[in-house]
Symmetry: C2
Subunit: 227 residues, 2 copies
DNA sequence: ACCTGAACACCGTTCAAGT
DNA sequence: ACCTGAACACCGTTCAAGT
């Protein structure tokens, strides 16, 4: 056997430990010192594996994005089950439908991953955290749009829009946080709500990230690009 | 005169000082200690005005969002100049066009504000930073969609989508940061780019936040909801 | 009400030194 | 190459005390 590192610690092991801390204690708790302690290391030893904290965060974003696949076999199966008619001409429509479902499923998967760990949005919206993993995700989403019939340029636009939309939606949910802002500051002299739209948003669960509403908004965005 | 505070410092004065630091040194530099020093105060004195750092950040978000108006007289003027025909029947189409332009202008204005200060995205995507200002912005955007003919519920959905889209777009731009990721890791044995969509995104300026592309994506989203 | 000074429990990062 | 220990220049927040 080759002489491995003195201790059985790897970059990906550190990333895994960092995700555990993120999940349990939030973004602010993801510190060089904290991760080192969780691994039984001295803070300075961390710099053997990552030259800076930003590089660790970047690696975490890479890992988070790498898992989002735009090939959703489930979605394809759903589209099949939904049942293309026996007409051979329906092939195009069916493949469009599959492309649509794959893209929606990818965005929902990404949303789920971001909501999984508290503060993962802060991770993803950090300065200069995008890397090869982000490039790969955009490529996969874009290929989905190409499969839906878009040109490469439009697919790039659509992929960026879908990614931004998903990150923004979850970011907005987290921005509301636990703090329940009083939207219902209805005037006493009136039965009309002072802020009807904002109240509707709260009632519909847009703030809290209602899954059905999220899916619908993603589907609308995808449709806006594919048609 | 009433006996004012011992020193001429107000909450909004602190917020202003905090924005100056944000603009000059980025989000990480916006600290209780740093803002206090800029005002000639002791860090502990800050707690007279804001009970915690999060409250200061919340106040900053409020200020940032409060300035985004969905009534764009400029946009209305543009629509007028663009020239409704003399037919009286064109009134509806013209007012739809005005609503559309107002909404696009509001999103562009928000995008501009977010890009103005480095790290403003981190500010806005923070945990629990949304407050009355966010409610107000959603209400104004929503009213724009109502003016475009949407129901209150759909207007709420559209307003949330537009806000999320805008924040997400700028967040994505910042995530790329100065670090230029090599998309062009083209294989030597082939003329075909390895990641055609990602390369297209870079070429089109989607990463860097090209203004024309940003406007187009916002316009597409608005149109997807208004039609 | 507004402010200071000292203190507590944290940060990221560097540097010299050990194996 | 991998790791430790000490140190530097920071954090947010609390507490007792002053006016």
């Amino acid at each position: 056997m080759r002489p491995g590192p003195r201790r059985s610690i790897t970059q990906s092991g550190i990333v895994t430990a960092a995700f555990e801390i993120l999940e349990q204690s939030g973004f602010a708790a993801v510190s060089i010192r904290g991760v080192a302690a969780a691994l039984g290391l001295t803070p300075t030893a961390m710099y053997t594996y990552f030259p800076s904290k930003q590089d660790l965060l970047r690696a975490m974003v890479e890992a988070l994005f790498a898992g989002v696949s735009a090939d959703a076999t489930d979605a394809a199966r759903m589209a099949d089950a939904a049942g293309a008619t026996d007409a051979t001409d329906a092939a195009d429509a069916a493949s469009d439908e599959i492309a649509r479902e794959r893209l929606v499923a990818a965005a929902i998967d990404l949303g789920r991953r971001l909501r999984e760990h508290p503060g993962a949005v802060s991770l993803v919206t950090g300065d200069g955290v995008a890397g090869a993993g982000t490039v790969g995700l955009i490529e996969r989403l874009g290929q989905g749009f190409v499969a839906g019939g878009l040109s490469v340029d439009d697919a790039a636009r659509a992929a960026h829009a879908l990614l931004a939309h998903t990150i923004g939606q979850v970011a907005l949910e987290q921005a509301w946080g636990a703090a329940s802002v009083d939207v219902a500051e209805t005037q006493l002299w009136s039965d009309e709500p002072a802020r009807p739209v904002a109240e509707a948003g709260e009632r519909l669960g847009l703030r809290a990230g209602d899954p059905g509403e999220f899916r619908a908004s993603v589907a609308r965005l995808v449709a806006a690009w594919l048609r």
